[in-house]
Amino acid sequence: MALLLRKLDRRSRWMAEAIATWLPHGDAPAPALHDFIDEQGKVSVWAVAEDQSNLPRVVAAIAATRESADVFDFVLFDGQAVSTAGARLEAAPGNSPDRVADQEWHRNLANVSAQRAARLVCAAFVNGERDRTSPKQIVELLLEAVNRRWLKLDDLKAGVKEKLQRTAAEKA
């Protein structure tokens, strides 16, 4: 089973040591649930190869949906955790402008109850690998994505597009 990537809205909600004094072993802080489930109750994840070869493209695809070239935090966890939690994965296009990445790697979780969502978040919190991509790296990744034609510059939100154009001009 491949790894699954879930973007984190705000990493500090996942920093265990801030709440370690009271958090039971194997549990996760409640705010982490916010980062998993959207307002419609959907859980959107991305499949990442074991060798993480598609990770740059997946990160660029998600970053391309955002309104600023801000830091990008994510958690990578074993896809097996989904079935263990009692949910299942289903292929569903995401909302990224990278149509290939969307079709090949985006997944939604189905049959997600409150308890299953909590189990999944706990599994991702305890066993997952959290990582961060800096704002500077996000700009580089998006520039590369445009150069490789994974994305078009015009697909990006105005603020991100301007940042990329400025960076490209400075490099030139």
Binding site: D9, S12, M15, A18, E67, S68, P97
Partner: protein, 266 residues
């Protein structure tokens, strides 16, 4: 000054009109932000502009910079500014229409006047109001918020006047840590050379905050600014940091500022 929800008019073949707000202010004025989502087909906008209901004989209507092209499902924010020497004007955004195109009414537009001749006290009250009103908001990295939409234009236009208050409020941890963190994200991300020095100093000060959320946001802001002058402050923050996860992230910021590899290699 009135702040109300924008109204929608979509009659016949006219461009769709979003009423952004009324203003009883004069002079240079930041009017507000309009959020838009295009539901229909791709099209190139041709009619983005701001109209003043009361014609100003001295100045033309302000312009809102359009995106180059709107694609289906695309979202964005347009910030509107009006230059007028007459008090009392209405501002409208005329958006393009076409077959299969519809618009969501902007939910957050309102009139916010920030005048260059505003008193220090008025300006501080305005920014304090923005930061306090955002307490219930949910913030996500990379996404705009009421804080980004309101604070960034104020800093761009009044950075000398507002710097001291932002030091007091943000570094002094007077407000909600999540809101403070959101402000620090955007103060780090914004490209505004005149305020660069004090924005960096503010982020450095916030590395000393009692809130982990604020310290993390300060580190992110410094990474976004990518200014090697912050090296001593980040070094000191690493020495102090009690949270191992945040310490590791700050070490990556330090590596970046020193020109060493630190972040994950792609």
């Amino acid at each position: 000054m009135n702040a109300g929800r924008p109204q929608l008019a979509s009659q016949g073949r006219k461009p769709q009109e979003f009423r952004v707000g009324d203003s009883d202010t004069a002079w240079e004025c930041f009017v507000g932000s309009v959020r838009w989502t295009l539901k229909g087909d791709t099209l190139s906008p041709k009619f983005w502009f701001v109209q003043q209901a009361a014609p100003d004989p001295l100045h033309e209507s302000g312009e809102a910079k359009p995106p180059d092209q709107l694609a289906q499902g695309q979202q964005g924010t347009i910030q509107l500014q009006v230059y007028s020497e007459l008090p009392g004007f209405d501002v409208w955004l005329n958006a393009p229409r076409g077959p299969g195109v519809s618009w969501e009414a902007p939910a957050e537009a309102g009139t916010r006047g920030v005048q260059p001749d505003r008193s220090q006290e008025e300006l501080e009250q305005y920014v304090r109001g923005v930061l306090e009103a955002a307490r219930e908001e949910y913030f996500a990295d990379g996404m705009e918020s009421s804080v980004s939409r309101e604070l960034v234009p104020v800093v761009e236009r009044h950075h000398k006047q507002i710097a001291e208050f932002l030091f007091y409020w943000l570094a002094g941890e007077k407000g909600d840590p999540e809101v403070t963190a959101e402000a620090l994200h955007w103060l780090g991300l914004m490209d505004h050379a005149p305020s660069r020095h004090w924005r960096r100093r503010l982020l450095e000060r916030c590395l000393e905050a009692s809130s982990l959320t604020v310290r993390d946001a300060a580190g992110i802001g410094l990474a976004a600014m990518d200014d090697p002058q912050a090296v001593p402050s980040v070094n000191a923050a690493i020495e102090r940091e009690s949270c191992a996860e945040l310490r590791q992230l700050l070490e990556r910021v330090l590596a970046q500022l020193e020109g060493r590899p630190g972040w994950r290699c792609f």
